[in-house]
């Protein structure tokens, strides 16, 4: 059975990973290759890397950065930031990207999208929509010009017509706001489009990811900020989700946190005193591949 994916999004600004808050404020996190290496080891299902400076500066996300990051990554990497040509895509793929994310701007360049799909296959092309809710309506936000691009419905229709592989919905209003994934938006998008949908924006803890996964039509739930600064954030989130109900996610990482219980923020709760007194050491054998 196909599992729903738990995806980490890494936002790049000035060639380092940052936490983004409301598309306006940014907190530095650190080096991309280190973030990727840890996420991979903790059992993430996929990693999306987005350079938010690239389009503005009319450059492509640094291929050196991607090459370095991909060396210790054995899960799929999707890369976005300033992609304008077939050559850009080729460049990223040969440096370790598995698929590319193209911002919704390019839906108005059908020849480019069509060529990209026919050269690299649908599975390689992801379209990212930055979505904002205005007067109860979901619209596509143009972050370059700080204006509204068009209706989300129209954008989804175009993406489907161009036969792209996947859609990443990035909720601008909830970016870094810790308000949880927007389930209403998820319902609208999944009932409208038959493409695999990934939702990003607002997830602050494992409970929010679990709430997202409860929509069985969502292909993936994503989080960015939440995965940083916590050891084993991925293993713990997956263990939490698995524990609540046996939801269809993959949880095969080496360290599983099976014997632990958590609060809703995913913090490990103290184990029973009697149990602890019997427990001297728990040895985690090294994984042999």
């Amino acid at each position: 059975m196909l599992k729903q994916r738990v995806i980490a999004t890494l936002i790049i600004k000035n060639n380092i990973v940052v936490q983004s808050i409301g598309f306006k404020k940014y907190l530095p996190v650190g080096r991309l290759d280190i973030a990727v290496e840890y996420l991979n080891r903790w059992g993430i299902d996929e990693i999306i890397i987005l350079d938010i400076d690239a389009s503005r500066n009319q450059t492509l996300i640094s291929t050196d950065l991607i090459q370095k990051a991909s060396q210790s990554c054995f899960v799929p990497i999707c890369v976005g930031g300033g992609i304008k040509s077939i050559k850009d895509i080729q460049n990223l793929l040969s440096n370790g990207a598995d698929k590319v994310s193209i911002n919704h701007h390019f839906l108005h360049a059908p020849s480019f999208i069509k060529e990209a799909v026919s050269t690299f296959g649908s599975q390689c092309i992801v379209i990212t929509f930055d979505v904002q809710k205005i007067n109860g309506q979901y619209l596509i936000y143009d972050y370059l010009n700080d204006t509204i691009f068009e209706s989300l419905e129209h954008g989804l229709k175009l993406a489907q017509a161009y036969n792209v592989g996947e859609i990443l919905i990035n909720n601008v209003d909830r970016d870094g706001m810790k308000t949880g994934l927007d389930s209403e938006l998820a319902n609208i998008v999944t009932s409208f489009s038959s493409l695999p949908i990934m939702m990003l924006g607002g997830a602050k803890n494992p409970q929010d990811l679990l709430d997202g996964i409860k929509n069985p039509k969502l292909s993936a739930v994503c989080a960015a900020n939440f995965f940083h600064f916590t050891e084993h954030s991925v293993n713990i989130a997956k263990s939490f989700i698995k524990k609540e109900v046996n939801y269809p996610i993959r949880h095969e990482s080496h360290v599983q946190y099976k014997e632990f219980s958590f609060d809703t923020d995913g913090r490990i709760l103290k184990r029973d005193d009697r149990e602890l007194s019997q427990l001297l050491f728990e040895v985690q054998e090294e994984e042999i591949i």
Binding site: M1, K3, D45, F74, S94, G121, S219, R250, E252, I289
Partner: protein, 207 residues
């Protein structure tokens, strides 16, 4: 041991090299005849469209040397994703295109049902045929899939399957030819184990 990843401009060769180098193997990414001649094992990657892949193989005059080494000399080969699909007789992707015809199979679109196409994400497999590729890998292990077309092969060649609306071929094996629809290089520990198993097979069968 010399491993050549066939470079025919259709794939994530870098990812495969990364995975094999993690396992401690040096690999060469090349489409050079001499390199293929000297290789102990070949890896045929592939991401993209079927007709483009066959076109590139023809353009680089790779079909004859590959056939000579894989079919006649029985050199072990691992096809991945599109690298598995082109082993078939033909594909109906975009236009009907002939494949390498090493495996009696056809490539067709996954029937569109309620489910989204492409079939993307982590799916569990069922091992059908106990072969060297799945040593220490049990049924229900997850691998990463990303494809819209599927490989319709004969039962005797199928080594594992997965479920997506219907049964889908996840991997095949025929003598020295191994191939997977999923991406072992992108399937974390399970994928690395599978690659390790392939390399162990090569090591054991070296002449």
């Amino acid at each position: 041991m010399k491993i050549v990843i066939i470079d025919y401009k259709m794939g994530n060769t870098q990812s495969i090299q990364n995975a094999l180098s993690f396992l401690g193997y040096n690999t060469i990414i090349s489409h050079n005849y001499d390199e293929i001649e000297d290789a102990d094992a070949l890896i045929l990657p592939g991401v993209g469209a079927f007709h483009q892949a066959m076109h590139n193989l023809q353009e680089l005059h790779l079909i004859e040397p590959l056939e000579r080494h894989v079919i006649k000399k029985k050199k072990p080969i691992l096809g991945i994703c599109l690298g598995m699909q082109i082993l078939a007789k033909s594909s109906s992707e975009i236009e009907i295109t002939e494949g390498l015809n090493w495996i009696d199979a056809k490539v067709q679109q996954i029937p569109s049902t309620e489910l989204s196409i492409p079939h993307v994400g982590w799916n569990s497999i069922e091992v059908r045929k106990d072969n060297s590729l799945f040593k220490n890998i049990s049924s229900d292990t997850h691998f990463y899939f990303d494809h819209s077309f599927h490989f319709m092969a004969r039962n005797k060649d199928i080594s594992s399957t997965t479920l997506y609306g219907q049964e889908i071929v996840a991997s095949i094996q025929k003598e020295n030819i191994f191939a997977t629809q999923f991406h072992p290089e992108k399937s974390q520990s399970a994928g690395l184990k599978l690659l390790r198993n392939f390399l162990n097979y090569v090591e054991d069968n070296r002449c």
